[in-house]
Symmetry: C2
Subunit: 337 residues, 2 copies
Amino acid sequence: MLDDRKLAVLRAIVEDYVSTNEPVGSKALAERHNLKVSPATVRNDMAALEEEGYITQPHTSAGRVPTDKGYRLFVDRLSQVKPLSGAERRAIETFLAGAVDLDDVVTRTVRLLAQLTRQVAVVQYPTLNRSTVRHVELVPLNDRRVMFVLITNTGRVEQRVVELPEAIDDTRIAHLRAVLNACLDGCGLSSVPELVADLPERLAPEDRPAAATILSVLLETLVERHDEKIVFAGAANLAGADFTTGLRDVLEALEEQVVLMRLLGETTNDTPSALTVRIGSENPYLRGTSIVATGYGSGDNQLARLGVLGPTRMDYPVTMGAVRAVARYVSQILAAS
Amino acid sequence: MLDDRKLAVLRAIVEDYVSTNEPVGSKALAERHNLKVSPATVRNDMAALEEEGYITQPHTSAGRVPTDKGYRLFVDRLSQVKPLSGAERRAIETFLAGAVDLDDVVTRTVRLLAQLTRQVAVVQYPTLNRSTVRHVELVPLNDRRVMFVLITNTGRVEQRVVELPEAIDDTRIAHLRAVLNACLDGCGLSSVPELVADLPERLAPEDRPAAATILSVLLETLVERHDEKIVFAGAANLAGADFTTGLRDVLEALEEQVVLMRLLGETTNDTPSALTVRIGSENPYLRGTSIVATGYGSGDNQLARLGVLGPTRMDYPVTMGAVRAVARYVSQILAAS
DNA sequence: CTTGGCACTCGGGAACACAGAGTGCTAGAC
DNA sequence: GTCTAGCACTCTGTGTTCCCGAGTGCCAAG
């Protein structure tokens, strides 16, 4: 049904349309790419491609434009991820290397990716899921309040102020801290709930109410912050592009963590480090946009996802190259720290 | 030069233009507001106002539009800050009351303000400047690396990983921690540099290199993070409005911390809790936008600034009311925690 | 299967007219 | 002196028409 030449025509259409943003006609196609056939032949092929739903024409007697299905075929079979230039690689490396803490890594990453792709970049904070507890700290604020700080091996810090049910002095706080650390140090966050389940019973009776309160806050922190935080950058890059769905919708989605999360996609599939590309209507919300995303994290310990969001008419090979490269470098940085 | 009626005309022009987004003519003006004079009289007044530079006409034979100078006069003399409705007040209170930590307070505040004003809201994180040290924590990661955590009385937490020049064991870390805390606990951040100046000399010689490294990171943290962090929300509200300067420029400015900082204005003036309004060309960058901002913080301990950014054609009384109210509630929340 | 030719179809831009809103000015009324 | 009514004038925005050209689909010939 689709011989090699038809595929070549489709590829040419996608490439031309992406670079010119104008429907591409048979004549221009036959000229610019050396297809070695006449425009008429190209027209026949285009008619076939349109029949199959890979391309469409905005109005009669305009050139053709790829459909979502056309982009899909292009991404899956007709294109290769384009590696970055040496200069770009070095720029990434030096830019990310300057980060001082986890927040900084994430902020730099998202900006870098936005600048590199000239699209909107989205980065999910590393989830607590596979992290391990590095340290638990209890800081007495006054006799009824304690600040609870949880530090993980990924450099993430969570803090909460806990209101205690009754006054408690510093030595008992210190005792609690020691017990907590002895119990949790180095343990995976997902195993924390089991580990602390019987903790109050192992304490002196007078410490139990305070311990129970602190533990409930601890568990709450683990649940609530679970892969929730997402940041984006490069919204200015949206200004030029035109979306079928309004610009407003896109901006709203970007500020809605939940939607953004859904868009980035679940990392639970078999090969989380593979590039995911969702094109136009394949997206749950925001039909008019495409998303290129991938998991990142140190080694096989997959932590979270990052990617870019842009118009369906996007340079997929370049974008995929940038996303993949940035994900690798960030993973490297995180593994080192 | 400007009698009462001319001022009333100016006020009417601003109000009408803000609500309709169309140049307002003499006839409509005389009708809608009961000025009790004929359109011809209004026209004479408008001519005078234009002469003085308060209004202008986009083209001959279109209605008049306020100039920046016109808005300025309106804000300064012709309008009153509009208080919020009871329902709005309650909504603010309940929404902010649910915050669990400082991050959460800031995030909720910026979203609330964006929703309330239907503009872009901008909130600066409370500066470390007037905060005091609540606790310093050193967590050994391995024998050459320590995580350094600084907790302030405003609930802010700063952390850094420090590479030590030489291996150091846990007991020495604990000693350093105790010394640091004894030295700094409860002190204002601005006085930290003096307090730690001679600290290494008071330690055992073998601890000095490690201490010096940690202290340099501590000082660096204080300087770098100094009122740097700013967040915004409500970018989607820009989608409708049209700016003289492109939408792209506004979005770029929003992602540029430094520019945003300049726009929010310095809090160093005499009465930081007063509302600041910068209209159009009064802004350092971004000529086409207006900014309504104010300081917030607990009591006379001014912490940082927040505000909204929108088109010059903005409902100033309502916006100012919302900004003022939110600032007050946030201050209250921060004082309580 | 490919190619050249040809009639057909639209979209988009240029030219044009026109209605309507708004103004400035002048002369008269209070 | 101040306000009002009337009037001529000047625009912009819109709707209409027209035409060019790009691009197509189809057909017949190579």
